[in-house]
Symmetry: C2
Subunit: 496 residues, 2 copies
Amino acid sequence: MSYALLSRRFHQLHHFAHLSAICGWDQATMMPEGGNDARAAALAELSLLMHERLTAPELADWFAAAQAESLTPAQQISLQEMQRRHRQASVLPGDLVQAKSLAGSGCEHAWRRQRRENDWAGFLTNFQEVVALSREEAAIRAEANGGRPYDSLLDLYEPGMNCTQIDGLFAELQQWLPDLIRQVTERQATESVILPQGPFATAAQQDLGRQIMGLLGFDFSRGRQDVSAHPFCGGVPSDVRITTRFDEADFTQSLMGIIHETGHARYEQGLPAQWQGLPVGEARSMGIHESQSLFFEMQLARHPGFVAQLPPLLEASFGPQPAFAADNLARLYTRVAPGYIRVDADEVTYPAHIMLRYEIEKRLIEGDIEARDIPELWDLRMQQYLGLSTAGNDKDGCLQDIHWTDGSFGYFPSYTLGALYAAQLAEALQQQLGSFASLLSQPDGLGNIFAWLQQHIWQQASLLDTDALIRQATGTPLSVAPFRRHLQARYLGRHA
Amino acid sequence: MSYALLSRRFHQLHHFAHLSAICGWDQATMMPEGGNDARAAALAELSLLMHERLTAPELADWFAAAQAESLTPAQQISLQEMQRRHRQASVLPGDLVQAKSLAGSGCEHAWRRQRRENDWAGFLTNFQEVVALSREEAAIRAEANGGRPYDSLLDLYEPGMNCTQIDGLFAELQQWLPDLIRQVTERQATESVILPQGPFATAAQQDLGRQIMGLLGFDFSRGRQDVSAHPFCGGVPSDVRITTRFDEADFTQSLMGIIHETGHARYEQGLPAQWQGLPVGEARSMGIHESQSLFFEMQLARHPGFVAQLPPLLEASFGPQPAFAADNLARLYTRVAPGYIRVDADEVTYPAHIMLRYEIEKRLIEGDIEARDIPELWDLRMQQYLGLSTAGNDKDGCLQDIHWTDGSFGYFPSYTLGALYAAQLAEALQQQLGSFASLLSQPDGLGNIFAWLQQHIWQQASLLDTDALIRQATGTPLSVAPFRRHLQARYLGRHA
């Protein structure tokens, strides 16, 4: 009875989240500029309502009563996930939530200009307030959950993960990654790559992208692809909306962008129908979500066996040109070059971008450094990891990302956790089904790969915690080793 | 204080209505088929919430207390509009609302097939339940409001209007309209019209439509135009969404469709900002809304002075052809021909379609006829009014419209009231500003026309009741005479 009441309440919240997701997608893809204020107010109204319904006093009674009810094991897990949501939302005082939301949107809004203008000093005045409120949030959450303040933020995006684990994983990465980057760049220095010659019409790129989405099993009866300034995967499992930014001078990034978002989308489309509308039926974590997009983009789509399928599609879309030769495309799509910008980074240098952000945000939240110390530490680590200095160039340094502007501390590690999970899943899959090279040469190879992900990840939703999910799929807990073996094999030609 | 609480509650409802409108628009224009069940459930959840908030018991106390507060005259009107909404929503028992909603969606769903299959008998089995529940609704509303049962339904769409008034207006129309139709069709029998030769590419039609929308002052920073199976004007005043159905064989209907929806859109975009979010800030009624779309489509855009501006635009979009000569287009756009289908009817025969529906639905709701009697009465009136028989052809007769399938009785008169209001407004405007012929020959003529509508209709929102609004704009109460003068002048060349 109480479980049923909770189930009804969470289905209701899910319906509201549906409307919020579609209106948020509309805001990013369709809405004319003048609609923004009214839309923001309408979405804020719904958020407030959802927060009230999620933290309502009757829920505590229902949770207590539901514990005593006869529930299936799956319902018990479902109940735990509901309680986790309720606890996370209830622990913060309303005035802190509101203050952080206000400070965050003010800081983010000004940042859009300050970044362009390389105005760190201007940014700092708003950002200090965001940091102060985020520290307060972390302290309150840590007090309620136990553990370190930064852990309590990490837990919002990657439940069950903590600093100690991440410190261990990242320390391991740091041992060999800088040297590997050096070796790869030396090796690639003598490689010649032909760049595709544009222009590439947006409509042709969009058609091509939709063909590739079809090849990757995206269900167009339950989703769409559109254009937005910042690519994302939104919507709801029955109607997944992915977006792309097209550049007529270069199709290569947009194409991989579509494949990346298709990975997110298939996870959503593959979530189990019988748990739709309850927290336990949702994606497990941001790291696992990113593992699916990176599995598609990095493990699968940059594999020579997949790249070899592209030339006829590219020629049909854009006409023939020398750059479309399969071996050239394979080199192009595995090019490694240290750079300033995280979102443009290749899979080899990407973790360096994350490690430096992780160190800075962890120390910042825990009071070990202050906001004003960031540019110097950023510059130092960029020099150490990638041999690049950002001194005086904050717009390509610590001002480049949106995450900190609204206080989303704890999110960055998800990207590299996703890369590690993806490599470990890809290795386990190949041990069980055969190599990608062999699978991709078979007509039903892609189908078998997706069926494996469906079974081991998508249909599991949040029924297991992340550790159990990864152990069940791969036989071992999360480890850096498969990612290292993947990079060594792909970029240095060394096979274990 | 209580007024402030009410204002907050209605703003909240407005925000929810915003999200519902955008998700409804998305459902009709963007959503893939597989998203429908989850979307319907999410929208129904929000409707339920809005109904609860609108009928909540505390509102009665707030209304009582607000009466005693010191309010501006505009706030007093605003309070009355809030009370009207609250009363309309509260008067029906919840189980009747639910039963009608269920019966209506079942009947509508089956109708989509039954209409195609000309299956009146099948339709009747569902429809009798819809009629029974609508009669119950009308009786309960009439009991609460006073007046006749049908009046209480009419009041949902056209507040302040009643059968007695409509009977009078329609009786007048009936005196001269059949004869006028006969005269016009005789006169046009000798007229030759060249039909445009397609195909007309959808993209070119869409571009042309947007140019015309621009010419008509549609604000694209606060709205969009897209494609849907059934054209409509949706969204919110800060972000108005109009839709069009394109036919590559014939651009003429789509073009007028865009102009029609642009009339609805400008009304929404022109509503006063200071009342946004409150009932008093919304459009006055369905009839007044339709008056704006018909003012744009019928009064303005089919005027020879406006049609004369089309040839260069059409030639730029589709290349030159003889049909695009201004005088040919003017004849094409004022062609009168009795037909079976309301939505395809010209402005001269359109009222006949409404008068027969009005008579039938009024008698049906008040128990004077039964649902099974409809086909015979429909056929009889079609023969009398338009010389066409629908015997055995219900799909082009009483099965053609969606309105009755879900019990939206009382809506149809709005279309003809809209045509009458539009003619009366156009006459008053021309008396004050000069004829359309003269205005349309001046560079700022359209701007002056829109400024007049802005002042007299759009910025008035619901601050006046419909009668006062029309009197203030035109100096007289609603009358059939301006519509008659308009038809005589345009179609018979007779000027008063």
